[in-house]
């Protein structure tokens, strides 16, 4: 098997998505097409040789050749995310390797089946790669993104998501605000629960492929509720991050 080599990418653009989230576009000397949902490892090296490594989901679709977008949330006390947020500017080199991961991926063979994407916070990143790829290949499968965010200014990719939902009648965007909804908000204002999932899944014919990504607690609760509403185990794929709090 070919070694997944480390390579030195160059930061081509940085976009502030929300107050705590930035997207870094990395130009890669050795770009390999990825599957939506895969990730890259990123490694920082200090002058004394100390290294720190993290994995970050790819946000861009494989149609965006020669570069990848990594959307990264600033973690309190996070030695890698805080360096990336505060210490990196356009033109800087960053060491990465990938693409990695073969399970939490939306494959083209799924493109005719209903798709349910459920995100908490920056868990939307790998799901965005799926939505962008889906739009690129012109898939018309019924698709819904249920996106749980704390407050109004926390909706990563908001404009693009709204645009995708306007352009494609087969794609529904559903937001739920758990702390502070925008003024005049009439949509969901609570944590994702069984009733919400039932409502979201009701219009779909057939059993959807379901991808759930977000903080551990949210993913635990959502995956468990999906089993409760009757979705078979093997249709539910999960990616968890952060502490459990238990």
């Amino acid at each position: 098997m070919k070694k997944i080599q480390w390579q030195i990418a160059s930061v081509k653009a940085i976009v502030q998505e929300t107050p705590r989230v930035k997207t870094f576009t990395l130009q890669l000397p050795d770009w390999i097409p990825h599957l939506p949902g895969q990730h890259y490892d990123l490694r920082l090296t200090a002058e004394d040789g100390y290294q720190a490594e993290r994995s970050y989901s790819i946000a861009s679709p494989p149609e965006q050749t020669d570069e990848i977008d990594l959307t990264i949330e600033l973690i309190d006390d996070g030695e890698v995310s805080s360096y990336l947020h505060d210490g990196i500017t356009v033109g800087d080199p960053l060491e990465v390797r990938g693409p990695i991961g073969g399970y939490f991926v939306w494959k083209d063979t799924m493109a005719t089946e209903p798709l349910v994407l459920i995100a908490g916070g920056s868990g939307v990143v790998p799901l965005m790669a799926m939505l962008r790829h889906r739009a690129q290949i012109g898939a018309t499968n019924p698709t819904v993104l249920l996106f749980s965010v704390r407050m109004d200014n926390g909706v990563i990719y908001q404009q693009e998501l709204e645009r995708l939902a306007e352009q494609n009648t087969n794609f529904r965007l559903l937001l739920t605000f758990t702390r502070q909804p925008p003024n005049g908000w009439t949509g969901y204002q609570r944590r994702i629960d069984k009733e919400m999932l039932q409502e979201v899944m009701a219009p779909l014919n057939g059993q959807p492929n379901c991808f759930v990504c977000g903080p551990t607690l949210l993913v635990e609760q959502v995956a468990s509720a999906l089993v409760d509403v009757g979705l078979p185990f093997e249709r539910i794929r999960t990616e968890r991050f952060g502490p459990t709090g238990t």
Binding site: A46, E47, E95, V219, T238
Partner: protein, 204 residues
């Protein structure tokens, strides 16, 4: 000095025991969860644990029988392929050596496929489970192991990356040759030594 470094990046704090943290890992005091799907629900009334494959007579325990086996305490450092390391985790469980006293392995048995509720599998060389190296964990930090961490029982092989420590363990199947399990088929290392950073198959 490395040939490549990130300007202005430096160690933020001295790790508590840096010689115990493998390369590419960072220390955490949390216990993150990484699972491919929903957490299975396993009633203790139907729970069972088996040793099968290349054994003279397969063995199976109920939850009650399994808990009657001698328990031991283990304090171990654990390392997840997603880069976190947690030092001095405290476990209670049954040593694999204890389990192996109940079966006679066929001489050609050299590898093990650990299999779990929810259809998860992972492969480990037999020698990596014996001689005090691995156990079935039942309690963590003094409490019954939480379902999201693999409760009621999980395999614990602390010297390998933690995906080898199959959650919701259901049995160990003894095999003559090595076969990839769930993540290994997905491109992860066949062995998973954290000290050699064997994360992906191409790192083997």
């Amino acid at each position: 000095m490395p040939s490549f470094f990130n300007k202005g990046f430096g160690r933020r704090r001295e790790p508590a025991a840096s010689d115990r943290i493998p390369p590419g890992q960072y220390e955490t005091r949390d216990f993150p969860v990484l699972t491919a799907g929903p957490t299975p629900r396993i009633p203790l009334t139907t729970w069972s644990f088996a040793l099968d494959g290349l054994v003279e007579t397969p063995m199976q325990w109920t939850w009650e029988q399994f808990n009657d086996l001698p328990h031991q305490s283990f304090t171990k450092d654990i390392h997840c392929v997603t880069k976190w390391t947690r030092l001095d985790t405290k476990w209670e469980g049954v040593s694999i050596d204890t389990l192996l006293e109940h079966v006679q392995l066929k001489p050609e048995a050299r590898y093990v496929m650990a299999y779990a509720y929810g259809d998860y599998t992972t492969n480990i060389p037999l020698d990596d489970l014996r001689h005090g190296k691995a156990f079935i964990g039942l309690r963590f930090e003094g409490l019954p192991l939480a379902p999201e961490h693999g409760g009621p029982a999980r395999l614990v092989v602390p010297h390998l990356y933690f995906w080898k420590s199959a959650k919701w363990i259901k049995g160990l199947r003894f095999m003559e040759s090595d076969k990839p399990g769930f993540w290994e088929r997905g491109g992860y290392s066949m062995y998973g030594d954290p000290w050699k950073e064997q994360r992906y198959r191409s790192d083997d």
